[in-house]
């Protein structure tokens, strides 16, 4: 029997209420993400991209439809059950990094590992490994405010991977970065993907989307295009020296 898809949605709908007027954001999305896939969700502003990944991570409740994660029904879960699920299975990367401002880089990265039940020692080792891999070893004791934008997003990525999630959800992770930092972050995403990480990434940047195995285009809350990109278009396996072993 083959592995169940990491994500499966059935006729997923989200309707916001704006002053009593229903505003549909996602209108009947059926999406299947297989293990190890790198899916980019793209589309113009207001097409429901962010809403879709928020629903996949349980940050936003769905209005109707089904969400299956790792073969288990998730949309009927309570808010708390979603929180527990996020601890074990989901990593989030946001556009504005959202590092906890008062905590050091090290604590930010260790937090999800601790929440997922790792011992303090395991969390520390995992953090050292991740920060080392992302070139941030020296910044472990810095506060997020002392970091540049690209560095902050790399820390956010490390944090998202800290609990070894089966699904990494990234909402415009490069939306707030300059081109050089965008390249760095994408390179890192590509590397974790090559190590088998399933990624769903939201972007409205076609160049970013081109990194993925598959691009899903949303328009007005509906999937209008879902196409796998040829493997030939994928970047060659990284240049020697910058290969990082992220999945221990």
């Amino acid at each position: 029997m083959s592995e169940p898809p990491v994500v499966r949605t059935v006729n997923l709908v989200k309707i916001y209420q704006n002053g009593g007027v229903p505003v549909p954001a996602v209108r009947g999305v059926d999406l299947v993400v297989e293990p190890g896939q790198f899916v980019a969700i793209t589309g113009p502003s207001g097409s429901g991209k962010s809403t879709l990944v928020h629903m996949l991570g349980g940050l936003d409740p769905r209005t109707s439809g089904e969400i299956w994660l790792d073969g288990k029904r998730a949309d009927t879960m309570s808010e708390s059950a979603w929180a527990l699920l996020r601890r074990r299975k989901i990593g989030f990367v946001f556009q504005f990094f959202n590092l906890v401002a008062n905590m050091t880089v090290a604590d930010n990265v260790e937090l999800p590992a601790l929440l997922a039940g790792a011992s303090a020692r395991d969390a520390r080792e995992r953090r050292e490994h991740l920060l080392g891999a992302l070139g941030l070893t020296g910044r472990a004791d810095a506060s997020p405010a002392q970091l540049a934008g690209g560095e902050q997003q790399r820390v956010a990525l490390a944090r998202a991977l800290s609990n070894k999630p089966s699904l990494l959800l990234a909402d415009e992770p490069t939306g707030n970065l300059d081109s050089r930092n965008t390249r760095d972050v994408l390179r890192l995403l590509g590397e974790v993907h090559r190590d088998g990480q399933t990624i769903v990434l939201v972007t409205h940047d076609a160049r970013v989307a081109s990194m993925a195995d598959r691009v899903v285009t949303l328009l007005d809350g509906e999937i209008v295009d879902d196409g796998a990109l040829g493997t030939a278009r994928r970047r060659p396996r990284g240049t020697a020296g910058d290969v990082v072993e992220l999945r221990g």
Binding site: G58, A83, L85, R86, F92, N102, E110, L114, L115
Partner: protein, 759 residues
């Protein structure tokens, strides 16, 4: 477990980021708890030294006076009796000193102090073997008689024989009340000395003390002792009577402290809720991030409760320690005992509940944060308040108008800041009012019915000579002859004090609060306590009996009466029957302005050759001087609470405007104008709070003191609001401090380069 570790890191990081605010919360809670514990301790010990004395001396709960020695072994076997003190032989003698004769009970003891009911030697030493004429005197008795260690006097036994004795020590005891409330005075000699002074056993008695395992069992023990000893018992006394006799009037103190403690607690709850609420509002994004990482709603709630609640708990713990220290500092010289567990538990638990409730609402709101960190905090609804419109109408500078608008954009926080400043300010003004009232007591004792600073009496000189000697003194302005008699009230159930002083044509300068002064025979004035006791009003006639003679008086006025709970009827000496009025028992001396009572007293003693007994009148403010220390401490704590609220308001204002600042600068406002906007936004509600608090506090202070005056029998008419100058200074100082608190962060914010980012 892992969640705990993660949460601990978050809490630690957050507290490190806001050390000042956290410290302020701890200090505020600690201050309130300290105030409450000190207050409760003062009420227990300061105004009732019995508890301290009883514990320290391991006192006896029951004292049994018998003609002959009782069956000690049988007494010791009674259920509930832990130890037996004595039996000691005791004999009444007359102490003669400076021509005055004072009854005293001599109790025979051994050179080795007993295990229970130990006299607590405060000066000198305990009796030694061979102290043939040595005596240890109960301290309050010694003070009343002016006896010191080394003083000598003679005692006269019932058979008329004189015996010289020398004071070797002064001791406190819980065996009986203080002198002169409890007479006769108590002194201890060696049993051998006592036998020498009073050889006849028939003229002495045996005194036996029973220390019980539980003081609440007194009644059953008394009953069984009565059953056991029967007719042998001449008299019994219990610890309850001793305690009652040592109690002072503590109602003013109690009311004041309860009021300050209660309102302070409300203010503290408000400050904590404000601080926690402001912090949670400022952390919406971090909380959302935590939720996206897998924190549940309940865990966020617990996290916030733990963080903010822990500050409160640390404050409570610090307050408990500080409370003990503060009370031992305030009660120097009085044996200090820690507060008994019930009030301590009540204060601790009460404060803990208040803190947790105050933190619960913000924590609950924090728990409900949506887990999408990108979502901005609730956008501000920018409607112009009436005040802002008014400001625009009168063409105030734009910065002021914008600041005014900001001040009230968030209605609830604005109200909370105003209220959070007004409440402490109000209580500060009440405190200042109490201070002003005490000052007024001291500066104008005539206004509280204490025109006379000295009373003079003598049992050696005739009354005319006393008056003559007194009048001759250059410091004396007026001399009023007086007598005090006890009169039975109409129902004949209890007696009240009738004070005849001056005459109806030359009345003593009472402080008349209502009605008028007595001006004819048969007219009288009364204290509030008497009016309440007898249920009469001004204009009524009352009939009493003085030593069998009826006394019918017409009450024409109410006076401020600080003595005897106001249960005093005052009239002219000529209104009393001659048998009671002639000769007058004493003379009250009103001194000239600026005359020092101590100097006049010394001069009078010298002029009369020590034949006069000159007593200084105790001003009620002297008894209440401990209140001043409490007022100062409470003002400090209340200021702290106001400050905590201000800091929260200031931080919240800055956070709300972090984005606007960039826009405002882009619009062309100078950093100074930006500062002004921020300062106005925080300072305006604070200033309104200060003014409101002061305006509410001034009449409240006078009103509360009047209420207290009325219920304590002194009578309304003593309350003083703080002077206009004091009030103005307090208001200016508070507003100045508020603006300063708002100014510093505002300046920093206005100068900082503001990044344009999402919240």
């Amino acid at each position: 477990m892992s969640t705990l570790r993660a949460s601990a890191r978050w809490v630690r990081a957050d507290l490190r980021a806001r050390r000042g605010q956290a410290l302020l919360t701890v200090l505020a809670v600690a201050g309130i708890v300290t105030a409450l514990i000190t207050a409760a301790t003062l009420l227990e010990d300061g105004t009732n030294p019995w508890r301290g004395l009883f514990t320290e001396s391991r006192g006896a709960h029951v004292w049994i006076h018998t003609r002959d020695a009782p069956q000690v072994a049988a007494l010791a076997r009674l259920r509930g009796v832990a130890r037996v003190a004595g039996p000691y032989r005791a004999a009444p003698v007359m102490l003669t000193r400076d021509g005055r004769r004072t009854p005293v009970t001599l109790r025979g003891m051994e050179a080795r102090p007993p295990d229970v009911a130990v006299p607590l030697v405060r000066a000198g030493r305990w009796l030694r073997q061979g102290d043939g004429d040595g005596v240890v005197i109960e301290r309050s008795f010694a003070e009343a008689l002016g006896l010191r260690v080394g003083s000598s006097f003679t005692v006269t036994a019932l058979n008329g024989a004189l015996h010289p004795l020398t004071v070797v020590g002064l001791a406190d005891t819980a065996d009986q009340g203080f002198y002169p409330e409890t007479t006769p005075g108590l002194a201890w000699t060696l049993t051998s000395t006592l036998v020498r002074i009073e050889p006849a056993p028939g003229r002495s008695e045996m005194v036996t003390g029973l220390r019980l395992t539980d003081g609440e069992d007194t009644l059953p023990v008394v009953h069984s002792a009565v059953t056991l000893l029967g007719g042998q018992i001449q008299r019994m006394s219990t610890w309850r009577e001793v305690r009652a006799s040592m109690e002072l009037d503590n109602r003013l103190l109690g009311l004041l402290l309860a009021l300050f403690g209660g309102v302070g607690m409300v203010a503290a709850a408000l400050a904590i809720a404000n601080a926690a609420g402001g912090r949670v509002l400022g952390q919406v994004r971090d909380l959302a991030t935590l939720k996206s990482l897998g924190y549940t709603r309940g865990q966020i709630f617990c996290l916030l409760m733990a963080e903010h609640g822990a500050l409160g708990m640390i404050g409570i713990a610090a307050g408990v320690v500080c409370g003990q220290l503060a009370s031992s500092f305030a009660l120097r010289g009085v044996p200090i005992l820690p507060l008994s567990p019930v009030p301590l538990m009540a204060i601790t638990a009460g404060t803990a509940v208040v803190v947790l409730v105050a933190v619960a609402l913000p924590a609950w709101r924090g728990g409900r944060t949506a887990p999408i960190p990108a979502a901005p905090a609730a956008p501000l609804r920018g409607h112009l308040s009436h005040l802002a419109r008014l400001a625009l109408l009168v063409r105030l500078p734009a910065a002021l108008v914008l600041g005014t608008r900001d001040a009230f954009t968030r209605r609830v926080p604005a109200f909370l800041s105003i209220f959070g400043v007004a409440l402490p300010m109000m209580m500060i003004v009440v405190g200042l009012g109490c201070w002003a009232t005490l000052d007024d007591f001291l500066r104008h004792p005539e206004r509280v019915g204490q025109a006379a600073a000295l009373t003079v009496r003598s049992d050696r000189l005739p009354a005319e000579d006393v008056a003559r000697v007194s009048r001759a003194d250059p410091g004396v302005a007026a001399v009023y002859p007086g007598s005090e008699v006890s009169a039975l009230e109409p129902e004949q159930t209890r007696s009240v004090l009738v004070r005849a002083i001056g005459t109806s044509t030359d009345p003593y300068p009472f402080s008349v609060a209502e009605g008028r002064m007595f001006a004819a025979r048969g007219e009288a004035v009364a204290g509030q306590g008497l009016l309440d006791l007898m249920g009469v009003r001004i204009g009524d006639r009352v009939r009493m009996t003085v030593g069998g003679t009826p006394l019918i008086v017409h009450i024409v006025g109410r006076v401020i009466e600080p003595e005897q709970d106001g249960e005093v009827l005052s009239l002219g000496l000529d209104s009393l029957a001659a048998k009671d009025a002639v000769p007058p028992q004493f003379h009250s001396l009103v001194l000239k302005d600026g005359a020092d009572p101590a100097t006049v007293r010394a001069r009078l003693l010298a002029a009369s050759g020590e034949a006069l007994e000159v007593r200084r009148v105790v001003n009620p403010a002297d008894r209440l001087s401990v209140i001043r220390g409490i007022i100062v401490a409470l003002i400090a704590v209340l200021s702290l609470l106001g400050l905590a609220n201000l800091l929260t308001a200031s931080a919240l204002g800055l956070r709300d405007h972090a984005l606007d600042l960039a826009v405002l600068k882009a619009l062309g406002l100078t950093p100074r104008q930006v500062t002004l906007i921020l300062v106005t936004g925080t300072g305006l509600p604070a200033a309104l709070g200060v003014l409101g608090g002061a305006l509410a506090g001034a009449p409240l202070a006078a009103g509360l003191i009047e209420l207290q005056g009325r219920t304590s029998g002194i009578g309304a008419g003593i309350g003083r609001a703080p002077s206009a100058l004091t009030l103005t200074l307090a208001v200016l100082a508070a507003i100045g401090a508020a603006l300063l608190v708002a100014l510093i962060p505002a300046r920093n914010a206005a100068r900082a380069r503001v990044p344009v980012t999402a919240r």
